[in-house]
């Protein structure tokens, strides 16, 4: 079935919403809020359709490849943005969330569509591992964006420039809450994802030997997990780290670790790679054959 919906459809929708969210000529457009909501909703709808279509072709699709995984993370952020339009209608959340959505879609354009090797692990462990890490990534991203907004809002209040700006940000109190909750949630989710990853490898232990602790992905993920746990403990133990800019700095640092994980997956992952030889061994040929076309491809 060719639905005609491809990556360009929802990318365009999100891009329109972003242009309207950014301060500038279009921000004064009278029906800006309504068009923004319409564009973002249309984007989410097309995005959902695309992911649904991928699942119908390949049941493991939403988490099976780096392409799908990035798209699913982008979808979650887009849904959060549409929710934010109702919860915080007058703020410019989209100016921060939508670039992240577009960046993740951009990553998916260049990411492999072949299934990730780790899916050779028992299905339930692989699924839980993938879901937890996906949610952990979204939590880290949200915390990072809330941290950026916090620092910008705080700077504007300190320098008395918040009044005249067209970029309306949520209150420091709300951003701080999102920030600290994201950090706590990210620590738990990434921890859970890490443990299930280890367990899924242990299930294959007989076949493949020892756990690959020196693998760059495992190393960077371990580093991120350590940072998240330390940051969360620091936040709970040290009162000054529970509020203000310190939480923002902690979540921004967590994002740096996330970038490291992404980089190691992209450039030097042996464990999660979509290397043809491994992929063929790990998955059925029919599934690999149905992988979605990349840039602009029809689902």
């Amino acid at each position: 079935m060719d639905s005609g919906i491809n990556l360009s459809c929802f990318t365009t929708c999100y891009a329109i919403a972003l242009v309207l969210e950014l301060p500038g000529r279009w921000s004064q457009f009278r029906y800006r809020r309504a068009v923004c909501l319409l564009a973002a909703s249309a984007g989410v709808l097309a995005h959902t359709w695309y992911l649904g279509h991928r699942v119908s072709e390949m049941p493991m699709a939403p988490l099976a490849s780096h392409h799908d995984w990035s798209l699913l993370a982008a979808w979650l952020l887009a849904v959060i943005y549409v929710g934010g339009l109702f919860y915080y209608p007058r703020s410019s959340l989209g100016a921060f969330l939508l670039p992240a959505v577009l960046a993740l879609i951009g990553v998916s354009w260049f990411a492999a569509t072949k299934p990730i090797v780790s899916f050779e692990a028992p299905r339930v462990w692989g699924l839980v591992h993938g879901v937890l890490l996906l949610l952990g990534t979204v939590a880290v991203l949200l915390g990072f964006l809330a941290g950026l907004m916090y620092l910008l809002q705080s700077y504007r209040l300190k320098h008395k420039t918040s009044g005249g700006s067209r970029l309306r940000l949520p209150s420091l109190e709300w951003l701080e809450r999102v920030n600290s909750r994201s950090l706590g949630a990210a620590a738990m989710l990434v921890g859970g994802g890490f443990i299930t990853g280890v367990l899924s490898r242990l299930a294959l232990e007989n076949e493949r030997g020892l756990l690959p602790w020196t693998d760059p992905v495992v190393l960077s993920l371990t580093a991120m997990l350590c940072w998240l746990v330390v940051a969360e403990v620091f936040r709970l133990v040290y009162p000054a780290a529970r509020q203000g800019r310190k939480v923002a700095y902690l979540t921004i640092a967590a994002f740096v670790f996330l970038l490291l994980v992404f980089a190691s997956i992209t450039w030097s992952d042996t464990l999660h790679s979509s290397d043809a030889e491994v992929a063929v061994r790990a998955t059925k040929p029919s599934i690999a054959d149905t992988a979605a076309p990349k840039f602009g491809g029809s689902a």
Binding site: K158, S162, G163, G164, L172, E173, R177, R242
Partner: protein, 425 residues
């Protein structure tokens, strides 16, 4: 429609002069009844606010309403004010100017603080009061409904009303709300018992339910202020403890020098706050907090100068919306006048048409009775000829009437048509 306005506004008269003419609601009712019996053919509405006293009078008959000097005289007589005292302070508008003025007033383009929302409610109230007294009618109903529609358009299609311009509203709604999600359960500390603190607290309480704490050197004044806002009074010695506890501070003491220096803050407050955000509104002149306090982590300090600057910025933003608002007022004024003249001329025009078409129809019937041999096609041709002839004869006078009604000079022509063709309203 013949609309007149006489009165005085803050543009031409200072408060002392305006007070001479000001009416309270009871007086308005009495005055309207008195003027109604004096000008029985007129509809009347009196708008009296702290910035303006305006009497609107309308009559469907161009020669039936009172002249502007009569209205001025009625106004002054009722308030018992000699004309000399108000010389140069009174304004009069007539016709289009009066309509446009009312639309501008209702849309808050003539207010002292442009875009303030109270004037709309005041105009509604003035009109409602006139309705209750029975001094209004269809003429003023139309013009006031159009004024309210204009104000609604200006509010909806421009951001004239969106920029706050008073110190308390800017401090709380524009700035403190950037720090706090809600003011419920926040600890608000008031230092001193100044009037500005009271106004700010009032605004704050309309937006949430904070815990109010008052620290003041004078026990009596401090307790009074705390009681009026269901707050707690604390002696001056508790200043540091209260600064540690509070989320928002409003400071309005009359001290001659800062009461909190950066060193004091670092020594007594900062270590115990654990960098919890603190929003400081220093509304005192001279300052109560030294400016260096604002550089400390988690402290957002706004002085009166900062707030005044923010208010001015918002006023400029409102001024930038004025051309768009004025365009709406122009459009609505033109629309109202066009509809108004259409309403005035429509019965005459339809009577005029009827007066020409009825004889045409009678003559056609007589002709067809005389010439029964005419076939269907010939009859149709003759009917079309008669229609064209009548329409061509009607066109020039109706066109002249249309032009005159657009300029508001249609009354003479209407009168002439009525008399020439014996038309009735």
């Amino acid at each position: 429609m013949n609309l007149q306005m006489v009165g005085c506004t803050h543009h031409e008269a200072n408060l002392d002069v305006r007070q001479l003419l000001a009416f309270d609601p009871q007086e308005i009712a009495v005055a309207l009844q008195a003027w109604q019996s004096r000008f029985p053919q007129s509809e009347l509405v009196l708008l009296s606010t702290c910035n303006r006293v305006e009497l609107y009078a309308a009559s469907s008959n161009p020669s039936g309403g009172p002249a502007a000097p009569d209205l001025v005289e009625a106004l002054l007589t009722f308030r018992n004010v000699p004309k000399t005292q108000l010389e140069g302070h009174l304004t009069t508008f007539e016709g289009r100017e009066a309509v446009e003025h009312l639309f501008r007033v209702t849309s808050s383009l003539e207010s002292m603080v442009i875009g303030e929302p109270q004037i709309l409610a005041q105009v509604k109230q003035a009109y409602q009061q006139a309705c209750d007294v029975g001094s209004t009618g269809p003429q003023l109903h139309d013009v006031f409904q159009s004024a309210l529609r204009t104000a609604k358009r200006v509010a909806g299609e421009t951001s004239l009303h969106q920029h706050r311009v008073s110190i308390p509203s800017v401090a709380i709604a524009d700035l403190a709300s950037c720090v706090f999600e809600s003011f419920n359960d926040k600890h608000v500390l008031v230092l001193g018992a100044g009037e500005m603190a009271e106004e700010t607290l009032r605004f704050l309480q309309s937006d949430g339910n904070p815990h109010v704490h008052v620290v003041n050197r004078s026990l009596e004044r401090g307790q009074k202020l705390a009681e009026s806002f269901n707050g707690e009074f604390h002696p001056w010695e508790k200043l540091w403890d209260q600064l540690v506890l509070s989320d928002l501070v409003i400071s309005t003491t009359a001290a001659n020098e800062p009461i909190v220096s950066a060193d004091d803050f670092v020594e007594h407050v900062e270590p115990r706050r654990h960098q919890r955000p603190l929003f400081l509104l220093d509304l005192a002149v001279p300052r109560d907090f030294s400016p260096e306090v604002g550089d400390l982590l988690g402290v957002y300090l706004y002085s009166l100068d900062d707030l005044t600057e923010a208010c001015q910025r918002n006023q400029s933003a409102r001024a930038a919306e004025m051309p768009a608002a004025e365009k709406i007022v122009d459009q609505e004024t033109a629309r109202f006048l066009s509809e108004s003249s259409h309403r005035a001329t429509a019965p005459v025009i339809s009577g005029f048409r009827r007066g020409m078409h009825e004889p045409k129809q009678a003559e056609l019937e007589r002709l067809f009775n005389k010439l029964p041999e005419l076939d269907e096609n010939s009859r149709e041709e003759i009917e079309q000829f008669a229609d064209r002839l009548v329409n061509k004869m009607l066109h020039p006078p109706l066109e002249s009437l249309r032009h005159a009604s657009q300029n508001g000079t249609h009354h003479g022509l209407l009168d002439a048509l009525k008399r020439l063709f014996k038309l009735e309203d």
